[in-house]
């Protein structure tokens, strides 16, 4: 890399693709997404990748950057292309998901598992009922609040070795969402949800390696959420609700 440019190796094609090398001008406060966007707009318009908001809200721009899954719009080049990487960037699609082309992966399986985990709110009240009072200090509400800011970027799913080894594993994101709902007093789908997240590939398959916790760009702790689910399923088992 010269002082004015950075060398970037970008994955091209599907699973059986190859790296293509580009030289991209360096700029102050440049993000990895800026680099990919520069390549697509100036060097190779055929480059496929996915992004939307560019400010860390939508969760669509996650890629593997120098070996680790990251949200590229909030990842500064300065932070990831240091001396340890020879000042280079290596950008690949997310792991554990089928590659559509270049840096775009098929997220269908990720969201299907969200559905399998019954990680959706099941209302119990009608418009005629009064508002449910939930104190922010309530211990259950605190558990839900701790995990609620997930942006579905798939970084935890791509980083999880259990997902890599066990195809049916629901993954940290879906289980984290399920845990926020287990702690939602307004929700009416608890029994079905605990059954859905307890089978083969459910919360018990987690090895507590905490990669999801380490990598989550929103600093959530899916491992703690999964530990909570394990306790909840044991309680349900003892009560005969599973």
């Amino acid at each position: 890399m010269s002082e004015q440019t950075i060398t970037v190796d970008i994955w091209r094609g599907r699973e059986d693709g190859r790296f293509q090398t580009f030289e991209v001008p360096r700029m102050a406060s440049q993000t990895v997404l800026d680099v990919v966007t520069y390549v697509q707009r100036n060097l190779d318009p055929g480059l496929s990748y996915r992004f939307a908001c560019r400010v860390g809200v939508c969760g669509s721009c996650a890629m593997t950057v120098n070996g680790k899954p990251r949200w590229t719009c909030r990842t500064h080049v300065d932070k990831v292309a240091g001396d340890a990487t020879g000042g280079r960037l290596k950008i690949q699609p997310l792991r554990n998901l089928p590659v559509i082309r270049d840096l775009a992966v098929d997220m269908a399986e990720f969201f299907e598992k969200w559905t399998q985990a019954k990680a959706h709110f099941v209302p119990t009240k009608t418009r005629d009922d009064d508002f449910q009072q939930v104190s922010p200090d309530d211990p259950q509400r605190k558990e839900a609040t701790a995990g609620i800011e997930c942006i579905n970027c798939g970084v935890c799913y791509a980083g999880c070795d259990t997902v890599a080894g066990l195809a049916s594993y629901l993954g940290p994101a879906a289980l984290n969402r399920a845990w926020t709902l287990v702690n939602d007093v307004r929700d009416g789908g608890q029994a079905d949800r605990l059954k859905a997240i307890s089978g083969v590939g459910g919360c018990q398959s987690c090895h507590t390696q905490q990669t999801c916790f380490e990598l989550c760009p929103k600093h959530l702790n899916p491992t703690a959420a999964i530990a909570g689910l394990k306790r909840a399923t044991v309680k349900a088992l003892i009560k005969g609700d599973l």
Binding site: A196, S198, T233, L242
Partner: protein, 116 residues
Amino acid sequence: MTPAKAETLEWLVQRVTAAILAVCVVVHLAVIVIAVQGGVTAAEIVGRVAGSVPWLLFYSVFVIAVALHAPAGLRNILRETTNLGKRQTHWIMALVCGVILVMGFRAVIGLYGLEA
């Protein structure tokens, strides 16, 4: 039994036996460290465990905990590293459990029954 129940029960058994094994292994290592001080001999081992009901109970619990704990972990490894189906891993688990129980109790009861 539904898969949800079976999976949760297996996880619970694995965790409970892990807690039991943590204590058993500490006792086991302590006995080894103490026993080797004067040099280990067959007579010394037989003198300690033969006819001893407390040691019989301790090693029986130890063997049962291992027989339940190890197959559960082995099944997780098989699931993640092989393409074996549910039925196959189930039978491998049952076989490993049986082998540990038979070999373990053969040793435990054998030593208990020896003349001190």
